[in-house]
C-alpha cells in the first residue's frame, strides 16, 4: 500500500495529506480487487462458456433476488464508507485553526502575489513557517485561477471580486511547487510558484529582512533579479524569442508600433507606463493581457528594471 502511494502520489508534506492519502489508497485497493474479480469473470466466462455449436441451448435465468441484493448492498456500503471518509477529510480541509498565520494571495494572469503582514510582497514565492497553520486569503485580479499545492493536497479556486481561503500546516522545510489549475489563458501553464517552508525563527528573520537585501545590489543587478522574481520573464523573453509579450531584448530605444496609439520610442516614461498601466499602449500583434504592477513594485525597483532593460541590446 505504501509502495502504491509513493509511486502515485507526490510526497506528503502537510498535516492534511495523511488522511487524503489513506482514502486514496483505500479506494485504489478496493477498486483493484473488484476490477480483478470482474476481469477474471469476463475472461473465464468467455472461455468456459464459449460457443461450441450453433445448437447450444442456454438456460433461462432471468433474475436472482439474493444475488442482486448482494451486489447492490455491498457496493452501497462501500460507497457510504468512502463518502463518510471523504467528508471527514473535507471538513478538516475547510476548518481553519484559529491561530493560523494569515497571508494574502492575489492571482493575476499569470503570476501569484503574496502579501505579508509587514507589507512585503513576494511574487511567485510563498514563504511560510513550518509546523504552524497558515491561512491564505485569496482573490483574483482578472479571471478565475486555482491555487494548488500537490505536496500539501490542497486546492482552491481563486475568484475575482470575492475572497476564498485555504489553509495548511507544513510538516517539513523545503520547497514545493504551486500550480494554477483553472485554465486562465495563454500562459496558464507558466503560472507556477514555489512554496518555501522555513524553520519558524528563520521565517521571522526572512520576514524582517525581506527586500532589504536588495540594498547592496547595483541597479542593473537588482533589475535582473526583479524581472525573474516578479514573473516578468514568464511572458517577456530576454533573448529576443517571442512569448506572450514582446521581448526585452533590443527594446530600449526602439520604435514601438501600437494597435491604437501613436508610435513612441521606448524610453524611461514608456517603460514605466507599461509596468504600471500595461493596457495603455498595446504593441501590435500582442494581446492586452498583462496585469498592472502598481502597488507591487516601488519607484526604486522600477528604476532598476529600466536600467536592466537598457543593458539588453
Amino acid at each position: 500500500m505504501n509502495k502504491l502511494s509513493e509511486f502515485m502520489l507526490p510526497p506528503a508534506k502537510s498535516t492534511l495529506a495523511a488522511e487524503t492519502d489513506a482514502l486514496f489508497n483505500f479506494i485504489n485497493v478496493t477498486s483493484l480487487i473488484l476490477l480483478i474479480g470482474i476481469t477474471i469473470a469476463i475472461v473465464f466466462f468467455s472461455w468456459k462458456y464459449r460457443r461450441r455449436s450453433e445448437n447450444d441451448v442456454t438456460p433461462v435465468i432471468t433474475h436472482n433476488s439474493k444475488l442482486e441484493i448482494t451486489w447492490s448492498v455491498i457496493p452501497l456500503i462501500l460507497v457510504i464508507i468512502v463518502f463518510g471518509w471523504g467528508l471527514s477529510g473535507y471538513v478538516n480541509l475547510t476548518t481553519v485553526p484559529d491561530d493560523a498565520y494569515e497571508i494574502r494571495v492575489v492571482g493575476k494572469s499569470w503570476l501569484w502575489e503574496f502579501h505579508y503582514e509587514t507589507g512585503h510582497v513576494s511574487v511567485n514565492e510563498l514563504h511560510v513557517p513550518v509546523d504552524r497553520p497558515v491561512k491564505l486569503i485569496m482573490s483574483s485580479d482578472d479571471v478565475i485561477h486555482s491555487f494548488y499545492i500537490p505536496d500539501f493536497r490542497i486546492k482552491r479556486d481563486v475568484l475575482p471580486n470575492r475572497y476564498s481561503s485555504v489553509w495548511f500546516e507544513a510538516t517539513e522545510t523545503g520547497e514545493s511547487v504551486i500550480f494554477c489549475t483553472e485554465y486562465c489563458g495563454m500562459a496558464h501553464s507558466d503560472m507556477l510558484a514555489t512554496t518555501i517552508v522555513h524553520e519558524q525563527d528563520e521565517f521571522e528573520t526572512w520576514l524582517e529582512t525581506a527586500g532589504s537585501a536588495d540594498d547592496n545590489l547595483s541597479p542593473v543587478e537588482l533589475g535582473e533579479q526583479l524581472v525573474t522574481r516578479n514573473a516578468c520573464t514568464t511572458c517577456h523573453s530576454v533573448d529576443g524569442s517571442r512569448l506572450q509579450g514582446p521581448s526585452f531584448q533590443a527594446l530600449w530605444g526602439s520604435e514601438r508600433v501600437f494597435e491604437d496609439a501613436e508610435n513612441v520610442t521606448a524610453d524611461e516614461n514608456y517603460i514605466r507606463e507599461s509596468i504600471l498601466e500595461p493596457q495603455a499602449k498595446i504593441v501590435e500583434s500582442y494581446d492586452p493581457v498583462m496585469p498592472p504592477y502598481a502597488g507591487t513594485l516601488d519607484d526604486r525597483q522600477i528604476d532598476a528594471i529600466i536600467e536592466y532593460i537598457k543593458t539588453l541590446e
Binding site: 433474475h63 436472482n64 452501497l76 486555482s146 501553464s189 507558466d190
Partner: protein, 579 residues
C-alpha cells in the same frame, strides 16, 4: 392462462410466419437514390446514415486534433506549436468530440437507424422533424467551423466565465453553433419519446421493449429536460459579451460561479446523454452473442432511468473547489455515489448474462468486453473523484482527464463501436473482415490504455490539465502517453480501411448473421425501404433465446396494421395460426 374478464378485451388477430427475404434485390439503399432524394429523405435509416457520416467526420477531426495535442506534449513548452495554438487545439478537440461526436453519435446516428426497426415501425413518429433536426445539426456545425476559421476559440470546451467573456477570438460564433446544435438534440429526443410511446408493434409491451430502447428513452428525457438549460446559459453568455449585461462577469457585477452551476446543470446530465444509450447497446450485444436471456431485464431498464434521474442532481461535483457551500458539496458528493450503484448493478447483470451462455466472441462482443473492462475503471476512478477530500487533490489534474476518457472513450466510444459493428450488416447488407476488425480492436484497446493509464499517475502526482508547458518530472509519462495515442490512431485507420473495404467488396450479409432474436434482425439486410413487408407481431421478449426462431418471425399479412384499440396478441392464438 387468461381470466374470463381479460380475454374479453383480447381481440384475436391472425398471424403468419414470415421468414425475412435473404439478399433482397430492393432495399432502402437502392431505392430513392440520387443526391436530392437523400437530402430530402424522411427515411429514418437514411437520416441515421447521414448522421453517421457526419459524426464519423467529426470523430476523425477530433481524433487528429488529439494526435496534435499528444505530439505537442512530447516535450515541455513548444514542440511544434505555440501556446495559443495549443489552447485552441485542445478547446476544439473537446468541443468537437462532445458536441459533434459523443452527443449525437449513439442517439442520432445509431438510434435513428435502429429505433423504428426495433419497434417494428415504418419510421419515427415525426419523420420531417427528424430531417429538420439533421439540418439544424449541420447549421450548428457550420457556425462552429466558421468560428474556427475566423479567429479560433481558446476557452476550453467549458467556456468558463469570466475568461470566455474577455478573451479574443470567436467565442460568440462558437457558442451560437453549440446553441443551435442543442435544438437538434431536443428534437431527436422528443421524436424518440413519442415514437416509443406510440409506434410499438402489436405485442411490444413495456416489458418486451429492447433494452436499447430503454436506454434511448432515458437519454431522450435528459435531452429534452437538460439541453434548454445549456441554451439559456449560452444565450446569457452571448448577451453578456454582445450587450454588456452583467450576468457572469464580476467586472459587470455578475457571478462567475453561477455560470459554472448553469453549465454543469446541463453538462453533467449530458455525460449521461452520451453513456446511457451505450448501456443499451451493450445489453443487446451481450445477450445476442451469449445467446442467452438477459439477466435482470428490469434492473437494467430501471437503472438507466435511475441514472438519468439522479444524473440531474450531481452537477455540483464539478465544483468542489469552486466555492460552493460545504453543505452543497456534501450533498453532491453523496448523490454522486448513488449514481455508482445502478451503474454497478448493470455491470454485474451483464456478467451474469454471460454466465452459462453460448459465447461467440465476434467483433461486437469483443468491443462489449473492452467496454466492460474500461468502463469499470472509469467508474472506479469516478468514485475516487466523488470522495470530497481526494477530489480536492485531484480536481483539474490529468487524473480527471484520464477518468473521463475512460468513461467517454473507454465506455461510450467502445459501446458505439460495438453497436456499429453489430448493426453494420443491417445498415449496409455487407459483412466486414473479422480478422482485421479484431486486430483493430486490439490496437485500440492497447493504445487506449497506454495513453490514459499514465495520465492517472501523472494526475495523482499533481500534473494539472490544459497545460501547454509542464515540469520535467512528467515528461516520461507524457511521452509514453503519446506513443499510446499513435497506436490507437493506427487501430482507427485500420478500422476505416476494413469498413470501407466492406462497403465496396464485403461479403453479402444474411438477414440475421448473429442469430439474434431481436426484431430488427427479423427483416432483410439491408432493411427494406419501409422496414418490414408486414406488420410484425411480437409474442416473446427480444432476449428469449430458449424459444425457436419461428416464434420471432410473426406478422400480419393483411392490410390490417394492428395499431388500433385494445388489440393484444394472445400467445396460443398466434401459435395455432402459424404456417
Amino acid at each position: 392462462m387468461a381470466t374470463e374478464e381479460s380475454t374479453a378485451n383480447v381481440k384475436r388477430v391472425q398471424v403468419k410466419r414470415f421468414k425475412p427475404e435473404e439478399y433482397p434485390e430492393k432495399h432502402y439503399l437502392n431505392q430513392e437514390t440520387g443526391l436530392w432524394a437523400w437530402m430530402t429523405t424522411v427515411d429514418h435509416k437514411k437520416i441515421g446514415l447521414m448522421y453517421l457520416m457526419s459524426v464519423a467526420f467529426f470523430f476523425f477531426i477530433g481524433g487528429m486534433l488529439a494526435l496534435l495535442i499528444r505530439t505537442e506534449l512530447l516535450t515541455p513548452a513548444r514542440t511544434f506549436m505555440d501556446a495559443d495554438v495549443y489552447n485552441q487545439v485542445f478547446t476544439l478537440h473537446g468541443a468537437i468530440m462532445i458536441f459533434f461526436f459523443l452527443i449525437p453519435s449513439v442517439p442520432a446516428a445509431l438510434g435513428n437507424f435502429i429505433l423504428p426497426l426495433q419497434l417494428g415501425a415504418k419510421d419515427v413518429a415525426f419523420p420531417r422533424l427528424n430531417l429538420a433536426s439533421f439540418y439544424i445539426y449541420v447549421i450548428g456545425a457550420l457556425f462552429t467551423i466558421t468560428a474556427i476559421f475566423t479567429g479560433g476559440v481558446d476557452t476550453g470546451w467549458t467556456f468558463y466565465t469570466p475568461y470566455s467573456a474577455t478573451t479574443g477570438g470567436s467565442v460568440m460564433m462558437m457558442t451560437l453553433g453549440v446553441f443551435i446544435l442543442g435544438f437538434s438534440s431536443i428534437l431527436t429526443g422528443l421524436n424518440f419519446i413519442v415514437t416509443i410511446h406510440k409506434l410499438r408493434s402489436p405485442g411490444i409491451t413495456w416489458n418486451r421493449l429492447p433494452l436499447n430502447l430503454w436506454g434511448l428513452y432515458a437519454t431522450s428525457i435528459i435531452q429534452i429536460l437538460a439541453t434548454p438549460v445549456l441554451a439559456i446559459t449560452l444565450l446569457l453568455l452571448t448577451m453578456e459579451r454582445a450587450l454588456g449585461i452583467g450576468i457572469f462577469d464580476p467586472a459587470l457585477g455578475g457571478d462567475p460561479v453561477l455560470y459554472q452551476h448553469f453549465f454543469w446543470f446541463y453538462s453533467h446530465p449530458a455525460v449521461y446523454i452520451m453513456i446511457v444509450p451505450g448501456f443499451g447497446i451493450i445489453s443487446e450485444v451481450i445477450s445476442t452473442f451469449s445467446r442467452k436471456v438477459i439477466f435482470g431485464y428490469w434492473a437494467i431498464a430501471l437503472s438507466s432511468l435511475a441514472i438519468a434521474f439522479i444524473g440531474f442532481l450531481v452537477w455540483g461535483h464539478h465544483m468542489f473547489t469552486a466555492g460552493q457551500s460545504s453543505l452543497a458539496s456534501m450533498v453532491f458528493s453523496f448523490l454522486t455515489f448513488l449514481v455508482g450503484i445502478p451503474t454497478g448493478i448493470k455491470i454485474f447483470n451483464w456478467l451474469a448474462t454471460m454466465y452459462r451462455g453460448s459465447i461467440d466472441m465476434k467483433t461486437p462482443m469483443l468491443y462489449a468486453m473492452v467496454f466492460l473492462f474500461l468502463f469499470t475503471i472509469g467508474g472506479f476512478t469516478g468514485i475516487m473523484l466523488g470522495a470530497l477530500a481526494v477530489d480536492i487533490h485531484l480536481h483539474d489534474t490529468y487524473y480527471v482527464v484520464a477518468h473521463f476518457h475512460y468513461v467517454m472513450m473507454g465506455g461510450m466510444v467502445m459501446a458505439f463501436l460495438a453497436g456499429l459493428h453489430y448493426w453494420w450488416p443491417k445498415m449496409f447488407g455487407k459483412m466486414y473482415s473479422e480478422f482485421w476488425a479484431k486486430i483493430s480492436c486490439g490496437l485500440v484497446f492497447i493504445g487506449f490504455n497506454m495513453t490514459f493509464l499514465p495520465q492517472f499517475i501523472m494526475g495523482a502526482q499533481g500534473m494539472p490539465r490544459r497545460y501547454f508547458n509542464y515540469i520535467d518530472q512528467f515528461q516520461s509519462f507524457h511521452q509514453f502517453s503519446t506513443m499510446g495515442a499513435y497506436v490507437m490512431g493506427i487501430g482507427f485507420f485500420i478500422m476505416a480501411g476494413y469498413l470501407l473495404h466492406s462497403l465496396m467488396k464485403g461479403k453479402r450479409a444474411t438477414a440475421n448473421p448473429w442469430g439474434s432474436r431481436a426484431l430488427e434482425w427479423q427483416t432483410s439486410s439491408p432493411a427494406p425501404l419501409h422496414n418490414f413487408e408486414h406488420t410484425p407481431v411480437i409474442i416473446n421478449g427480444p432476449y428469449d433465446y430458449h424459444k425457436p426462431m419461428s416464434e420471432f418471425q410473426l406478422g400480419i399479412a393483411t392490410s390490417h396494421n394492428g395499431h388500433h384499440g385494445n388489440e393484444h396478441v394472445s400467445h396460443t392464438e398466434s401459435k395455432t395460426e402459424q404456417v
